[in-house]
Symmetry: none
Subunit: 144 residues, 4 copies
């Protein structure tokens, strides 16, 4: 029998609060999503003004980061034409995101979930996802 650690709902909301704080600071209303370590959605917020097209993108970014275990920006590099991972962006029913803004959530070295942000540029989304993680570790006292 395996034993797995997983974000609680309360912890997921801390991540969303962290993303929203940064989004407000940046002046960009975002879609923010948190999944568990198996890629299933725990919590989601579309801030007033967040893009409708970003609802599923944010969820897909969180999914990908959790289950493929890398930031989605890493897969953007790996998935360039001419590279051997080119093509991964259309797998998993189109839900494999290669756009920056999705990051795994780790606790004591284990992936316990994923966070995904969308509505800005890929770079802005990633900054916001990083801020969500920083806020999460600060508030919970947990260690990456």
């Amino acid at each position: 029998m395996l034993t797995v650690k997983r974000l609680s709902h309360e912890e997921a909301r801390v991540l969303l609060d962290g993303a929203a704080r940064k989004a407000r600071e940046m002046g960009i209303p975002m879609c923010n999503a948190v999944t568990d370590e198996s890629g299933h959605l725990i919590a989601f917020d579309r801030m007033d003004g967040g893009k409708i097209s970003s609802i599923s993108i944010a969820v897909d970014k969180a999914f990908t980061a959790a289950v493929a275990r890398k930031g989605t920006h890493v897969y953007n590099d790996l998935c360039q034409p001419g590279k051997p991972t080119f093509g991964i962006h259309i797998t998993n029913g189109g839900h494999f995101s290669i756009i920056g803004g999705g990051l795994p959530v780790t606790v004591d070295g284990a992936i316990v979930g994923g966070v995904g942000v969308s509505s800005g540029t890929a770079g802005e989304d990633q900054v916001c996802a990083e801020a969500a993680l920083a806020y999460f570790y600060e508030k919970t006292g947990l260690k990456p």
Copy 2:
């Protein structure tokens, strides 16, 4: 030019809080979703223990209630074999829910969003969605 009234993110979260309060009272961890009047997700919570299969069901219930403008339980009645609306449950890419637990959110007679609850029986889900609406009107002072 049309002017459309739409739930804000803050108001959507009041609905989710109302659903969660009732779910805790009932002892059933739920998946709770709120969409805007166009059926697009604003906010979502899977309480600890909410069913994974209910994530998309809750979202589909909120979507259906908002855009088809009836409680999903009403469509359950309308969609029985032998009735002229039979078959509607497989429309909209399979996202048209006919299971009770989705209700339109109205303000001054206009539909401004939808709320969807899933993880219990259809009846339990509906009770929880109704409690979300009651809490929403109480907290915001808005009128159906």
Copy 3:
């Protein structure tokens, strides 16, 4: 942080072995699938002669039993026309199975995975899934 118990690959294969033993005894080559508690496939076997149409059905049965937390035959009863859960069979992207032959795998009261069997009648599939569980508890010494 939540802590979750999950079937290991070795345990999943014990379930598949149990299903195959019963299938051979019944003289029906089956498709047998085991998922983890989040509904993700761990192991699969199509016995020589198992139906091609049953590949995805077996996987969907295991998925449904794990994440909706009931035997798929239970949902067959609940999803009859005239009942309030009618319509659940087309949710989850069409992966929600209401055909008998899917059972949750529980250990000490917690769902740790799902087993799905397909190629016979719904009743035969269910007998085989039950045999898989019985074999699993006998071999591992674990308790439901």
Copy 4:
């Protein structure tokens, strides 16, 4: 009338065992899939720690190798922007894999199935798929 040679379930499991042996040697838990010559799944194993996003990728690699009759890495080369096969990765409902790690299984010059490996880099996956084939020929005494 055509007569078709096809991997048996027992032979498919030899391929999975070969893949798992190499994966353990490399220290990378993999998702391993084997399809028949028609691209339909015969057997699948997700080793403890294999990526969830790699479940469908491994199956798609085995499918593609069997039915498109080339290693998936070959299609990666053929499917570059500017080349006439660019675009093939989105065909077949998104199941056409162009990421290395899928290889046809041939016996006496005929394709009898496909093997797909995923969770490492494309190169690591391919090494593992090649090891599966080598183990298969060694154990069965069959010739490519």
